[in-house]
Each structure stands twice: as C-alpha cells, then as structure tokens.
Symmetry: C2
Subunit: 189 residues, 2 copies
C-alpha cells in the first residue's frame, strides 16, 4: 500500500555481463499479464502443457519469455479456438519432449540430428496450421450463413416499407423469428 517498493518483488537473473537482462517472472506476474490465474497455470503444468523455465531456491516457479508465449498460445487455443486442454496437449509438443528437444538441439552441432529435430517441429507446425485453417473455414461458413439470414431480414424490412407483406417466397433461413404457425411452404423469419 505504501508508495515505496513492495517487499517480495520480482527478480533479475544475474546476467554474467551486460547481456540482455532476462527477467524471470513469478506466477502471479505471468497470470496478470495473460489474464489467467496462478491456479490455472499450475493446472496446465499438471496436465503437462508447460513447465516453468526454472525454479527459485525456494521452489518458486520462474517463467521466461518463451514460457509466456507458450501460455499465451494455450490461452488463445482455449478461448478463441475453443479447444479442450487435452486437444491443446495434442497440438503442442508435450513439455517433456520440449525440454529434451531444446537441450538436444543446442548440444548437438550435428546437422543431421538438427535436421531431424526441425523436421519434427515442422510436422507439428503443419498439423497446427491445418487444424486452425479448417476451423477458420467452418467459422467463415457460419458467419456467411448469418450474413445471408441478415440480408433476408433486410429484404423483408424493405418489402414492408414498400407496402408489401414482409413475407419472402424463397427458402426458410434459420428460424430466427418465424418458423411455424401457419403451414405455408416458406415462413417469414
């Protein structure tokens, strides 16, 4: 509450020289930045969706930028794409593999081995793109259908304003308004 610096604050990683000061974030900082809760982040970890880059001496979880980006992606997949956490798990590399992979990549200068790691990631990226694109397409179709229904309503409105009955002859769109009541082949919506 005081205007002075708070007690248990962040933490700068002791960078060897004047390298980029890689701030490691504690769980609450990450949570606020992403609009998540510490609880849900721990839950994702429990499911194997991610694990913090490091732990402090006292076992505090410490996250780096790549962790935050991964979490942001997870959140988008959950909120925007509506995937379940288990589907997200299938889409992402599981955390164990992720750790092994990046270790392996940096420790091996062997191009053949590196090639293998990259083609592996590439396969995953392909899957992600395919799944996201197909979802975009389905949603695009829904949005299009909604626009069609809207246009129909506009046409009916125009018809009424032109002295008509406001009933359209063609196909019954989504029964937003009319749908049943009389038994004419097509109802006004």
């Amino acid at each position: 509450m005081t205007p002075t610096a708070q007690p248990g604050q962040p933490a700068l990683v002791p960078t060897t020289e004047n390298e980029i000061p890689k701030r490691l974030l504690r769980i609450q900082e990450v949570a606020s930045e992403l609009g998540l809760t510490p609880r849900s982040i721990r839950y994702y970890e429990e499911l194997g969706l991610l694990s913090p880059a490091a732990r402090s001496e006292g076992a505090y979880r410490l996250y780096d930028i790549s962790d935050v980006e991964r979490l942001r992606f997870i959140k988008q997949l959950r909120d925007d794409a509506g995937f379940s956490l288990s589907e997200i798990g299938q889409l992402l590399e599981d955390e164990a593999a992720r750790a092994r992979t990046r270790q392996a990549f940096h420790e091996s200068a062997d191009p053949a081995e590196r090639r293998l790691l990259i083609t592996d990631s590439l396969r995953r990226a392909d899957r992600q793109v395919a799944i996201l694109r197909s979802k975009v397409d389905r949603l695009e179709e829904m949005a299009g259908a909604a626009e069609v229904r809207r246009e129909r309503l506009r046409a009916r409105l125009a018809d009424i304003d032109a002295g008509g009955t406001g009933e359209l002859p063609e196909t019954g769109g989504l029964p937003a308004v009319g749908g049943n009541g009389t038994r004419r082949p097509s109802e006004p919506a």
Copy 2:
C-alpha cells in the same frame, strides 16, 4: 432386427390436403441426424434454448424443420465456435420470445407491428454476424501466426540443407522447439 417395418415408428402430420407433408421427428431421429443425443437436446430445452414444435398425445416431443435447423445452429456454435451454452442463449432469441414472436407475426397483418418484429430480429442477426466475424478474425490471426512459424522452420531447414547451422537471426517465434538453453538474443525454434 426384422426386415419388416419397426413398431413404434415416425409420424406424419395429417396434412389437410396434399400440402407439403410436414414430417415431425421424434427426439432420437433428430439426435441421429445432428450427431447429438436425446439427453443433450432435452438439456438444451431445459436451458431454454429451444422447445419442440409440438407434443404428441402421450407427451412425446415432436420437432419440425425449423427446430432441427435451430438445433443445428446451436451445435455449430458449440462445436465450431466453442461457445458455452449460456453464451449461445444470449446469441439466440430465447425460446419463449421465439414462440411469442412467430405467433404475433402471423396473427398480425399490421405492417407496423410486423416491422417491429423484423427490426428486432435484424438487431439479433447483426449481433450474431458481429460476434462470429470477430471470432473469425481472431482465428484468422492465429492461423496466420502458425503459418509464420511454419515458414520459419522451413527456412531453417533450408539453411541446414545448404550447409548452415539452422539457426535464424530474427525474432523468436512461438517456442516450438528451441526457446531456452543458450542465452543468445534469438533462439532457433
């Protein structure tokens, strides 16, 4: 199991003349057609998302085409768009209003009143379009980002195949592969 017609089968509505034979469907028929279960359909009804066009003498739920379309829309909103059932309720006209509206529309020949009903539906349609479009946009962005990450991986693969190290100098994409391990400003992904 017999090749003969089953016992408790469908039901044709006694159409006055040779009007379009409006088949009313029982709950299981609707469910199979849409890939839902009777239970979930009843649940949606319980939440006020829809109600069957009619009930049989013995209280069987009977659905008409407009009901099926409405259910199909609900399912799409749930599966493809990932909305919760309560969000779907907000997007759709609630069933009570829907019944009142279509009654009102058919019983009133008054253009002014009809106009009101239509503008009302139009407002809802506008909301639906807006919400769906914004969701499409967010997903489009995600898909785009995924494609960028994929291209980066392809570039690294090409680099390796050209005798390079497979590390890219620019910005760190989603930490799909590399992300931490060394402390260089940008990691290979």
